[in-house]
Every structure is written in C-alpha cells, then in structure tokens.
C-alpha cells in the first residue's frame, strides 16, 4: 500500500504542476471548456484513487469539487468567479494535503467545511483561507526517467549478457584456469542479477495492477451493500510499466462502475433468478500483438433504452435519431461525455461519468474498448491495448530446422502422437486430430509458414486456444520454455499476419513470436464466437459421466491415477528444495513452502537412494496446495468405468481398470486432510483474543500453538468479530463486557493460594485442555 500511496502522491503532484497553468487560464475565462474538463478529470482521478487508498478527507474534498464541476459541465450552473475561486481553493487544499501526507505531518482540517460550503450555489464569497501552514516539501524518494534512457539501459544489459555468453563459450573451448572460471561465475551471477533489476525498471507484472483489486472490490461492495465474488486471472503477464500506469485509472473506474451500476443488490439478483452473489471477473491475456483486459460482470448490463432517454434529455439530441443508430453505436453512447444510465449519483462512480475519460485514456495508448452487452445478463468490457514491450512466458517450437516462440497462455496442451489416444485423419481436404475423443482442426505449422515439410505424420501436436475455439498445430519438436522479452516487429513483418513480435533470446539469434489467432485465420479456421458458452455453464456435460485422470508412476513404482481437475501442474523439482522441516517433508517452490505428500511413509529411505529424477503433482483445492511426489507423469485418460472403492482409509481411494490393468486412484481428500497446511477455513475458526499487558509475549510464544489448535488469534478485534475466548495474564484487569470465557495464565509454576483458577504459562497441555473446554461449552450453549 505504501508503494501505491507514493505513486499517488507523485502522480497527483505532477498533474497539479501540469494543471497550474490551466487553472490560471480557467480563472481568466471560466467558460473555457477544455480547462474545465482538465480540472474535472483531475478531481475525478483524485477521488477515484482516494477510494481505495482510504483517504477520506481528500475523498470528501474532491467529491464536493467534482459535484460542482459536473453541474458546471452539464450547464446547470454558471461558472462565475465565486465558483471558480471555491473550486481553486479546494484544488490548492488537495495539493497541501498531498504534501502533508508525503512528509507525514497532520494538517488542520477545521477550515475544510468552509471550503466545501463555499462551493454551494450562492454561498458567501467569504472563501476560506488556505490553511496558512507552510509545509516544507519533502525530498521525493522516487524519480522519473525518460523511457529512452531505460531503453538504452535495457539494450546495454542485453549486450552484456551476449558478451558474457561469448566469453563463456571461448573459455569453454580453450580451457581456463579455475580462478578465471570462478571470476566468470561471479560475473555471471552479477549479470543475471543486474538483468533482473534492469528489467524491473521497465517491466512490471500486471499483478501490480491487480493486487489492489480484491481490497477495492471488497470496500466498494461493502459501501454499496452488495455481495461480489471477484476472480482475477492472468496476473503473471509482464507489461511495460508505462502501460500499467496508464491502465490503472481506467481499470479502477470500470470496476467501480461494474459494481455500482452493473451488479444488482442481492435481493434484486434473487428476484431475477440469479445467484445472490454477483460475479466479477478480471482477466488479462495476450492475444497476437495486443494485451486484452476483460472486465466481465453478470449484472444487469447496460439499459440502452434508458441511456437513450437520458442522453436525449441532457444533450438535446433527438431521441428518434438516437434510436435509428445501429445497435453497437447505441451502446457506444455510454462513452458520451457527462452521462449516466443510472439516475442517482453515488460517491462510488459518480454519474457514469468518466467512461468518456476512460476511453480517451485508452485511445491515447493506441488502444480501444469493446463492449459486449447482454441486457439482464451482464456486460463485458474488453480493453485492448497494443503490446509495446512485454515479457511473455513462451514455449519454443522447432519446425523445418527453424525456431519459433508461442505464447504459453494460449497453449492448452502439448501431446506426442503415439498410441491410440490420438488419431489424425483426413476430413475432405482438411485434417482433423482427435485427442481423447475431442476433435480439433489440424494445421501444419510448416505448411502455414511455407517451409519445406515432410509427408510423414506429425510427431508433436500443440493444442492452441484462440478466441472462440482451439486447434491442433503440428510441429516437429517442442524445444524449450522460456520467458522472453517481446518487441514489436517492423511493419513488413507484421503484414504477414502470422507473427506477434520478435525477440532476441540468449542464444543471440533473433526469433519470431507466432500469433495464434493469425495462424488460425491463415489456416482458414473460422470459429463462431457466439457459440462459446458463458463461463460457469461449461461444467454441464452430457452422456455418461466421465472423469479425466492423470496416470503417473508413483515413487513405489506402481501406476496410479489422480483426478486431472485437481492438478494445477506437473513439474520437475530439485532434491535440494525438499527438506524435512517442522515435522514433515516440505517443498520450496515459487517462493512458497508447500507440504510434500507421498504414498510411502518412509520417504527418507527413498531420498537416501540417489534418485535424481523427481517430479511433483501440484494439487490445489482452491485455498491451499500440496505437492505429491511422483516419478513421472504417463498419460491422461478418460475414466468412464466406475471406481471400486477401497477398504479403509489411506492414500488410496479405490481402483479402476485402465486397458485391462488395475490401477489405483489416490484419495486427494485424504491427502489434503493429512498433509495440507491450515486445513481449517479461516473465517469459520473461532476468534481468540489476546488481552492485557503480556500480549507481546503471547503473540510470539503462544500464537503458533493457538493457531495449531484452530483459533484465529487477534490482539485487537476487527469490526464484527466476537472472541469466543480471551487469554490474559492473572495480573491483568480486563474490561470485557460479555460472557466471553477468559483463560488466565500465571507466571509462577505453582498456583498461589487465593487466586482464581489460572494456568501456568508454559503448561501447554493444560492450556489446550482449557481451550477445548471453552469450545465444548460454546457448542453446548
């Protein structure tokens, strides 16, 4: 949050500086529309940012100024000198507060009511004076650099990497002294480290944009008394920092709009036969040479009728003329300045204003906004922005001796053509691949690219997803996965329609990134996007219920099955990342520690052997994940036969037949119950309050014990929380009103004679027993 605050301060300061000239001009000529719009956008942006940064004073000021300016914009109010003065006083005060926040001093807020009152129409001209406190401007801790400079830094960095590679190659060819090799090793580490840092100066995960969303959605929803479930996807895409900054406001604005105007209240949703909790999903993906951010809600959509009536009323355009417009153009009226399809004004997203601002911002980036409206069912807003520079996870495929990169998120799976699970047939003059009973159109990459290809059946198929459908792409081999810095290719290369950009991997040989959608259309594939079922309905399957299972070889040598839906991914791991810590085997991966489950009880012996090829199944249940140690993944099968349940409980749920062979199915439920961390759900756990003088000791000594016992430990209660038990020292005086049970701890080993019942603070067994009693009492009550 501190980063965000810093950014907000820097940005507001900068806008204020840029605005300074405009303010004077507006003062000279209050009817100047462009100046008015600029000031309006400023207060509107401040208002938007304050909402999730939790700055109520700024929110109040900017909201008041926005109201007044909106009235001026709509013509309801004349911009006389008094109004101008009052607005400017607020803008000045915003500047002062920003400076105050930056250096962390408090600012007297007594005159703010006066400032706001001065905005009222016909208010006294006794404009409140500026606070008069002169605030020393803090030295900024962030600086702004020109993008050109960063670019030079980045290309210098890549030069360095290539030079290092060359040096390493020479040393390897000619042999080198150990001391030289050690120096090179150190150089390599530094270079790698530097490269990450330099890349960070320019690139940022889109996660930086998405990480504030859960909090913002929660607060916004709470303010409006709505229930909203947010899902966020694609946070791993890395984007140009510049782009991320520019996307921030539009994204925040549209999400607020979606919650405020789009999603209905629970009552209305139930009446409309929907799930009482509204769904909001934010998805980022890369498609060809574009980044697309989709904001989809399942609310009421845009009421085009009402939009037209409002617009006709506010803009003076004829309603009949508006109704003559084609459907999409009617929908686009939402971008008309100063308009709302909702009648009342709320603090959240104001008057739907801002859609014009949003569009202007996006178009400034060279992007566009698409709306897909389903009245009564929801709205999907897709923001398309061009890919300037981004880091994309890719897989590298080889075909006819040449290498190409394919964006990994667009790849559904990679299969080798062997066995019966995959068939390739001619269908008329086209080819079709059947993979586990799903049929895909088959395209040959070599043929699409006009490269020499053999007539032999393809060895490897890559199933690629594009908007509307999937297809199988035949390639010679899959070589590698790599995160690549993608830059736009020159126009003559883009004109082929097959490539999304170019990149220079560490080999020093340039490579092209294939555009999946471009390949599909070059191959003549036409997917009907209407046919795509909305998310959530996909799970409805027909025919015999079947379950997709992964066959793998377990570490005891047996073949076993696990439900594919529970497996996030299969990945190789390093033996060094697996350690026996805190009572069980754990795996460090992706900066997390996850428990390691195995079918063997005695894993230590397994590890004692020099087994080097280790793989894990990463299994997730939506909240937590575990890693299940295996030897290798074998195949994916559809299991249609019923499973025969096993006897007793344990890691095996039952057995099924695969090609006449008995194969055990692992019991994911049991595995989770046994191995997962924090199996208990966080919200359901009873709250335990640490009170009194010794909370610090309790916090550091007792917290793990208490959390293990299934409590949410708090030192201060959050809103709406009720402690089911309170823990304090015997010497503490507590002011607890309710009949909350209190367990008291004492310092002395032995109980003193006249005290009430206390527990010695290191007597774990007694403490846990007392907690159990409290819980039992609670349940009984």
């Amino acid at each position: 949050m501190d980063d965000l605050l810093q950014e907000f301060i820097a940005e507001t300061r900068e806008t204020l500086e840029a605005l300074a000239g405009g303010i004077v001009m507006w003062e000279a000529n209050p009817s100047d529309r462009t100046r008015l719009d600029a000031i309006f956008r400023f207060v509107h942006t401040v208002k938007g940012s304050c909402g999730f940064l939790d700055l109520p004073r700024l929110l109040r000021l900017s909201h008041a100024a926005e109201d007044t300016l909106a009235a001026v914009r709509s013509g309801a109010r004349k911009p006389d000198t008094r109004t101008v003065n009052a607005v400017l006083a607020i803008v000045d005060r915003i500047g002062e507060i920003i400076e105050a926040i930056d250096i962390g001093v408090s600012l007297d807020d007594r005159s703010e009511d006066l400032l706001i009152a001065a905005l009222a129409e016909g208010a006294d001209s006794a404009v409140a004076q500026a606070s008069g406190i002169s605030i020393q401007r803090a030295p900024t801790r962030s600086i702004r650099l020109s993008v050109a400079l960063l670019d030079r830094m980045m290309s210098g960095m890549s030069d360095m990497v290539l030079a290092r590679n060359e040096l390493a190659r020479h040393l390897r060819d000619h042999g080198a002294e150990p001391s030289v090799e050690a120096a090179l090793e150190r150089l390599s580490l530094t270079v790698a480290d530097m490269r990450d840092t330099v890349t960070q100066t320019r690139m940022q995960k889109i996660d930086a944009l998405f990480s504030v969303l859960p909090r913002m959605v929660r607060d916004t929803a709470a303010e409006l008394n709505k229930a909203v479930a947010l899902s966020v996807e694609g946070a791993n895409v890395e984007l140009d920092r510049e782009m991320i900054e520019m996307m921030r406001d539009p994204l925040v604005h549209m999400i607020r709009n979606a919650i405020d105007h789009g999603l209905e209240s629970s009552v209305d949703r139930i009446a409309a036969g929907k799930n009482p909790v509204g769904n909001l999903s934010v998805v980022a993906r890369q498609l060809g040479n574009q980044i697309i951010i989709e904001i989809q809600d399942d609310g009421r959509g845009i009421d085009v009728d009402r939009l037209i009536i409002n617009l006709a009323a506010s803009s003076g355009q004829s309603e009949a003329a508006l109704r003559m417009l084609p459907e999409q153009a009617q929908l686009d009226l939402i971008f008309h300045p100063g308009l709302s399809s909702k009648d009342n004004v709320t603090t959240i997203s104001g008057r739907g204003v801002g859609m014009d601002v949003v569009r202007a911002n996006i178009e400034q980036l060279g992007g566009r906004i698409d709306l897909r409206n389903t009245p009564g069912r929801g709205l999907c807003i897709a923001i398309h922005v061009p890919l300037t520079l981004s880091i994309i996870p890719t897989i590298i495929v080889g075909v006819s001796g040449q290498r190409f990169a394919l964006s990994r998120p667009s790849i559904e799976e990679i299969v080798r053509v062997r066995g019966d699970a995959i068939r390739i047939d001619a269908l008329g003059d086209t080819m079709v691949a059947t993979i586990r009973k799903r049929r895909f159109p088959l395209l040959s990459l070599a043929k699409l690219l006009g490269l020499p290809s053999s007539d032999e059946p393809p060895a490897t198929l890559v199933v690629v997803t594009v908007t509307g459908g999937s297809f199988a792409l035949a390639v010679d081999e899959v070589l590698d996965t790599e995160e690549l810095v993608i830059k736009p290719a020159p126009p003559a290369v883009m004109a082929t329609g097959l490539f999304a950009g170019q990149t220079l991997p560490d080999t020093g040989l340039p490579m092209l990134l294939l555009d999946a959608a471009g390949l599909a259309s070059a191959g003549g594939l036409r997917f009907n996007s209407e046919a795509r079922a909305p998310a959530g309905d996909e799970k409805v399957s027909e025919g015999t219920p079947s379950q997709t299972m992964l066959i793998f070889r377990d570490i005891d040598g047996a073949k076993r099955l696990a439900p594919l839906a529970t497996i996030e991914r299969v990945e190789p791991v390093d033996r060094a990342d697996i350690q026996f810590t805190a009572g069980q085997w754990r795996l460090s991966v992706d900066a997390m520690i996850i428990p390691l489950a195995t079918v063997l009880d005695d894993v230590a012996r397994y590890f004692a052997g020099d087994e080097t090829r280790l793989s894990v199944l990463r299994i997730a249940d939506g909240q937590t994940q575990i890693a299940y140690l295996i030897t290798e993944a074998i195949d994916i099968v559809e299991l249609t036969d019923a499973m025969i349940a096993g006897r007793g409980t344990g890691p095996i749920a039952g057995v099924a037949t695969i090609d006449g062979e008995q194969v055990e199915i692992i019991d994911v439920h049991w595995v989770f119950a046994r191995y997962a961390d924090g199996c208990r759900s966080d919200t359901a756990a009873p709250v335990l309050l640490l009170a009194g003088e010794s909370t610090t000791w309790m916090e550091s000594f007792l917290r793990p014990v208490l959390e293990n016992a299934g409590y949410r430990v708090r030192t201060a209660l959050r809103a709406g929380e009720h402690p089911s038990v309170t823990l304090a020292m015997d010497s503490d005086t507590l002011s607890i009103a309710d009949a909350t049970p209190v367990i008291r701890l004492r310092h002395a080993v032995h109980m003193s004679a006249n005290a009430g019942e206390t527990i010695f603070r290191y007597d774990r067994a007694a403490l846990l027993q007392a907690l159990d009693q409290c819980r039992a009492g609670e349940r009984a009550g």
């Binding site: 980045m154 290309s155 210098g156 960095m157 890549s158 030069d159 990497v161 290539l162 040449q402 690219l449 006009g450 490269l451 830059k487 290719a489 020159p490 126009p491 003559a492 290369v493 883009m494 004109a495 082929t496 097959l498 490539f499 170019q502 990149t503 220079l504 020093g508 040989l509 340039p510 490579m511 092209l512």
Partner: protein, 142 residues
C-alpha cells in the same frame, strides 16, 4: 552545401547514400529467415542486442533478387525499427554536392521511387537514393 555521402554498390549499381540516413555500416552475422514475408526481406539478424530486419534492395529497385555473398550492410532506422540494407561493396565516403535530378531520365519505377538527386563522383554522375524507399511496408513520406 556539400553533404557527406557513402558511395556504395547496391544490387550491382553504384549509388550515393546520404550519411545522415545511415546509423552505421556493419557485417551481418547469422540471419533468421522470416517465412511468408514479402520479397526483399531477407530475415532478422542480431546486431548486439538489437534485432534488425535485413533487406535486399534489389526487390525494391525492381531488379531480380541477388544471391550476393556480401554480408555487409548499412543500418538505418525508420519509425523506431532498425533495418540493415545489404550492399555489395562500399567504395567511398566523401562530401558531395547534390544536383537536381533533371527530367528526361527514364528511370524504372523502383529507381524513380528511390532516387533523390545526382552527385558527381570523380566526374561520373551517381544517383543518390533515399534508403527509406528501399524498405517494404513503409510509406515513403517521412
């Protein structure tokens, strides 16, 4: 006013190139071909950390593509993209005066598009060309 020109042989013809259009003259290493790209685009090459698009000027000049063995190229930057235009030989770098290309010369379409003026090199006239015109997919107007 005299300007600095590179005198080079491109596609078998001697031409003069305004040095202001040239970033550098380099030898191109490995070239990654670009499938389905139009004639005239040879491929991509790495120039230190930059990726340059390698151009064979013959196509743009309306000549048969060269299977030239030269890997020398002049680097020019157009609209933020870098291009390497292959040259057969680099003859000279010297200041010259450009003189107006008078009408009456029947230049082929490609040459017509690329030509700028005439410079006098050791009393033999040489056509000075606009590199931008040799690059496919780029509008001529700057």
């Amino acid at each position: 006013m005299a300007k600095l020109f590179l005198i080079a042989i491109i596609a078998g013809t001697t031409v003069a190139i305004d040095s202001q259009q040239v970033d550098s003259v380099v030898d191109i290493g490995h070239i990654t071909p670009i499938p389905r790209a139009e004639a005239g685009i040879v491929g991509l090459a790495a120039l230190r950390s930059r990726v340059v698009t390698v151009i064979d000027a013959s196509g743009a000049l309306g000549l048969a593509p060269q299977s030239g063995s030269s890997n020398r190229a002049v680097i020019t930057s157009v609209d933020h993209h870098h291009y390497a235009i292959l040259v057969d030989t680099l003859l000279d770098v010297a200041p010259f005066e450009e003189t107006q290309l008078s009408s009456g010369f029947a230049l082929g379409d490609g040459w017509q598009r690329a030509s700028r003026a005439i410079v006098d090199h050791n009393s033999s006239p040489i056509l000075s060309i606009n590199l931008r015109a040799l690059i496919p997919g780029v509008a001529l107007a700057a």
